[in-house]
């Protein structure tokens, strides 16, 4: 860092200490929470200028959102501004991300309708890895399973027009209700159920390769996990933790009963083998299926919703911090402020994804009245003063109410759905949603009036830049 003395040596404002370098003041500011940084900005003109510097706010964004999001944002903005190497307005960007209140939906079109497209399905897996969307398996009409793997390029030349390519079939064996997460650049797939009703507990690792001449391919191989593995299951939840581990919870087991166990998979460096171990905690979230797990801030795993043992739809939120020496699921209690429409929050078969800013975006799913939803909610557990505090000592209603925020959705209006899948790209600003179960208005595909959807659409976080 260059040592430059501040230009206000002649200014009468401030103790001699404020003449120390800007770098050191920045170093102090970077240790502070946002409201303290902005209190600093309110002291005087000089400090307001300092605390408003875009260079500082880029560092703050990097600190709070992680380097990946920041680098991805810089990359995409370079394309936008092309010849002008414009600095992103980081302070304004940070503010808009924090205050996010709307999303814009875009229907994604296919250039050539003669090309094969993945058939409509639900309870499949959809992930973003190495600039590609990867889709595997799922269930479709007639309760049949699928075993095909499809990829679509979402790189820098992406213009909202997609090309799906089928790259594999047969391996892994067909299934739905499995989970697939991304660890480093590998896909890690676990469990699921096939159309014979057999539940699985095998673990697969998928790797995308781009050949100059042969094009894109994806290879799946069975992971050697030794003798210890979680009991077979489908409709469980999983998430990757900090690019090293995978956490799995609950789901429906071999005897058709919902489970509430927690397992962690640790992979060797070359991803050739892995080790499962169970995490026993008390208390722990009740048994459930169709719920979600997301990892925020690198170490905190957030669990939400699902369907419980009594077939009821749940709305509880739990957090597990993997960095603590004693692992514990802690329930986060909340109250919703009065909402005129009386929206309720129990959800099953929703999607939960971490978006830019480090919060969780919840979309769709089925509610307690068996209605499919199309609403977007942002779940922010940091609004809670301390998530390691026991629920009984939480007394701050205003903070609890800040946990859930409903977003406005503009643009394209897809059908309400459940058991769809969603994933973001590297920037965390764009969410891709595919498939799911939708209500069939024209002709019921099955006697229950259910249909499978094959639409892929894009959800963009609206940041006025």
């Amino acid at each position: 860092m260059a040592e430059t003395s501040s230009s206000s040596r002649s200014s009468s404002n401030g103790s001699p200490m404020t003449n120390i370098t800007q770098d050191h003041l920045f170093a102090i500011l970077l240790l502070l929470p946002i409201d303290s940084i902005l209190s600093f900005a309110m002291t005087c003109k000089r400090f307001r200028a300092l605390a408003s510097s875009d260079a500082l706010w880029e560092s703050i964004s990097r600190r709070d959102w992680g380097p990946n999001s920041v680098d991805a944002l810089k990359k995409s903005s370079n394309l936008l501004f092309q010849h002008q190497q414009q600095q992103l307005p980081w302070m304004r960007l940070y503010k808009h991300v924090s205050q996010l209140d709307s999303v814009s939906l875009h229907k994604l079109t296919y250039p050539d309708t003669h090309l094969a497209l993945p058939r409509p399905r639900a309870s499949h897996s959809l992930n973003f890895v190495s600039d590609y969307l990867v889709l595997f398996g799922g269930g479709c009409e007639g309760g049949r399973h699928l075993d095909d793997t499809w990829v679509a390029y979402i790189g820098k030349d992406f213009q909202k027009i997609l090309n799906w390519q089928k790259v594999n079939s047969g391996i892994p064996s067909g299934r739905f209700g499995h989970t697939c997460v991304v660890i480093c650049d590998f896909l890690v797939l676990f469990g699921g159920i096939n159309d014979n009703g057999s539940r699985q507990n095998d673990t697969w690792v998928g790797q995308l390769t781009c050949h100059e001449t042969l094009g894109i391919s994806l290879s799946w191989r069975l992971l050697d996990v030794g003798s210890v593995a979680p009991p077979a299951r489908g409709a469980h939840a999983a998430c990757s933790i900090d690019n090293r581990l995978m956490l799995v919870h609950g789901g429906i087991g071999l005897n058709g009963l919902r489970m509430g166990d927690t397992w962690v998979l640790e992979l060797t460096e070359n991803f050739c083998s892995g080790e499962w171990r169970e995490i026993l905690t008390c208390p722990s979230p009740a048994a459930r299926s169709g719920h979600s797990l997301t990892c925020i801030e690198g170490t905190k795993i957030v669990l939400f919703g699902g369907r419980g043992l009594g077939y009821e739809v749940l709305n509880d939120v739990w957090v597990l911090d993997i960095s603590e020496s004693y692992l514990n699921w802690v329930q986060i209690l909340y109250e919703l402020p009065n909402i005129p429409e009386g929206v309720s929050l129990p959800r099953v078969g929703h999607s939960a994804t971490v978006i830019l800013g480090g919060r969780v975006l919840i979309y769709g799913g089925e509610d307690s009245q068996r209605h499919k939803r199309d609403d977007f909610w942002v779940l922010d557990i940091s609004a809670n003063p301390s998530i390691t505090v026991q629920p009984s000592t939480l007394n701050s209603a205003r903070l609890l109410a800040k946990m859930w925020k409903r977003l406005k959705a503009i643009g394209h209006k897809p059908k309400c759905r459940s058991f769809h899948r969603a994933c973001t790209d590297d920037s965390g600003r764009y969410l891709y949603v595919f498939g799911g179960m939708v209500d069939c208005l024209v002709q019921p595909a099955e006697s229950t009036g259910l249909g499978f959807d094959g639409e892929l659409f894009l959800v963009e976080l609206l940041l006025q830049l």
Partner: protein, 179 residues
């Protein structure tokens, strides 16, 4: 050479360096300790400067210099203790953190600021780092007025400007009670 008890005497037998504070007080320190102060190191890196030369530190008070020397002396000792042994490293790190906490705990706001100025002038990276952390801890979650008092700042906003600034930053305080 004045020795008022705050001036720790160096070990006999090692090479020493003389440092002069702003009030003329001279501190004799071991060479290894003196080289922790990058400004002093640069002073001697210049050609033709003999180690007998007294280094003039015009911007550092004798109180601050005494504390800086005390810290650097302990830091050099602790660094010598750590090596390849992870256990020893861990212990040394804990001891250093304890040393930093102790130094900071006893200091007033003015004292911390004086130390930052000294560490900044003398260019001691590690010391600056934990001093900045200490300042951060002291102003974290405090009111605007508290921060002004800490840095001795005059509010040079007009009432309209102040109101405008408050509105601009209000988004970060949503849902938080006024302190």
């Amino acid at each position: 050479m004045a020795n008022n008890g705050e001036n720790p005497s160096p070990d006999v037998g090692g090479k020493t360096v003389k440092l002069k504070a702003d009030d003329g007080e001279i501190f004799e320190v071991e060479e290894a300790v003196a080289m922790e102060l990058q400004t002093v190191k640069s002073f001697f890196d210049d050609d033709g400067v003999s180690y007998d030369t007294v280094v003039p530190l015009l911007n550092v008070s004798s109180t601050a210099l005494a504390k800086v020397i005390q810290y650097c002396r302990r830091a050099v000792e602790l660094r010598a203790k750590s090596g390849d042994d992870e256990g020893a490293n861990e212990k040394a790190r804990e001891e250093r953190e304890g040393l930093e906490a102790e130094l900071v705990r006893e200091e007033s706001d003015e004292g911390i600021k004086e130390l930052i100025l000294a560490a900044n002038y003398l260019n001691i990276k590690d010391m600056l780092s934990f001093l900045c952390r200490a300042v951060g801890d002291r102003i974290k979650n405090k009111s605007v007025e508290y921060v002004r008092r800490f840095f001795v700042l005059e509010n040079d906003f007009s009432p309209e400007e102040e109101e405008r600034t408050r509105n601009e930053v209000a988004w970060a305080f949503e849902g938080v009670d006024a302190d």
